[in-house]
Symmetry: C2
Subunit: 175 residues, 2 copies
DNA sequence: TCCTTAAGCGGACTATAGTCCGGTTATGCC
DNA sequence: GGCATAACCGGACTATAGTCCGCTTAAGGA
């Protein structure tokens, strides 16, 4: 519907009332369509998420199938961080609410399944649980904070990967 | 003041109005004293936090000074997880809000400094940044979710420690 | 003791997410 | 084409965090 109208203006400081008004629609309709503010943000990042998921499922290595699981994991972290900094505000909105909303989105399920599979493939115990731990490291709020502290994306990527003991993917090793 | 009155009832489903009323005080007073809902929760976990900090600073090894940094890190993760499950609801409240409130509490600063120091002592590069990554792994929301999924504390601890490549502290190794 | 001034209090007020119900429009049957 | 029914819509309403200002009470001076 009017998602694009809305996406163009940025969600940050917009209230749901304003959004509804801008979309020429009642608030009830907005909520029927998206369920919540987080749901709306989710819908707005959806395209970028799918694009990344596509690259994982059918794209070229190292993100897609091909190299060993360690390389793919490194590539995923890399790609996810790029996705995060491109979609900053919306992902933040997506992950905000109280009752662990983050964990119940479809996207979270996808990332989790992907990481868990790679960890198992690597021979790790308890891949499902460890995938949650890896994802905690990729929380939008953390990265918003780190960016605000002036840390460079490359340095962040590298810190996460070494902390996790992931193989250092050296592509795009600037600095 | 009336913190105890309040602590006894649990914060979870209480509104600030109810809290003020229960404390026989106006809402303005409540906000002057604590600044926000998160601030109130912070004040309520304060004692438990200090107790843990005390054990780190002056208590016996492996949490306190003594063994190598790797052991101390493992012990910290262990102790922090225990603290988290004892103070579940309050810490969650503390970490909730929008503008990265979690990162601005005094307690976060302490944990961060402690971890960063241990990492540096271990000879790690970029200890400050990596300490943030480690702390992301200890977010209250994640652990609330994991508990709700039925993961056992020991298993969680072990997953975090192996993910981080921390030395496996074997004390309290049930299962 | 009374008056002046400062500090602190409390509850009415605002902002905003999310709900709900009465009305309106569309659909299908006669 | 007209009516019964269902689907959908919109905005008034509710819940709740956080703000603000007028009033009360305490402190200090004469």
């Amino acid at each position: 519907m009017a998602r694009r109208l809305v996406a163009e203006r940025g969600i940050g400081a917009l209230t749901m009332d304003e959004l509804a008004q801008a979309a020429r629609v009642g608030k009830g309709t907005l909520y029927r369509a998206f369920g919540s503010r987080a749901g709306l943000a989710e819908a707005l990042v959806d395209e970028a998420e799918r694009e990344l998921q596509e690259r994982i499922l059918t794209g070229p290595p190292p993100l897609g199938y091909g190299p060993g699981p360690a390389e793919r994991l490194g590539a995923f972290v890399d790609a996810y961080l790029a996705f995060l900094s491109d979609n900053d505000e919306l992902v933040l909105e997506t992950e905000r609410p109280g009752e662990g909303a983050r964990f119940h989105t479809g996207a979270y399920g996808f990332w989790h399944a992907h990481i868990a599979a790679l960890l198992r493939e690597e021979g790790t115990d308890d891949g499902g649980l460890r995938a949650h731990v890896v994802l905690a490291t990729l929380a939008a709020e953390l990265h918003a904070h780190l960016r605000s502290q002036g840390y460079e994306p490359d340095r962040i990527r590298s810190a996460i990967q070494t902390t996790m003991g992931l193989s250092q993917v050296t592509r795009s090793r600037r600095r």
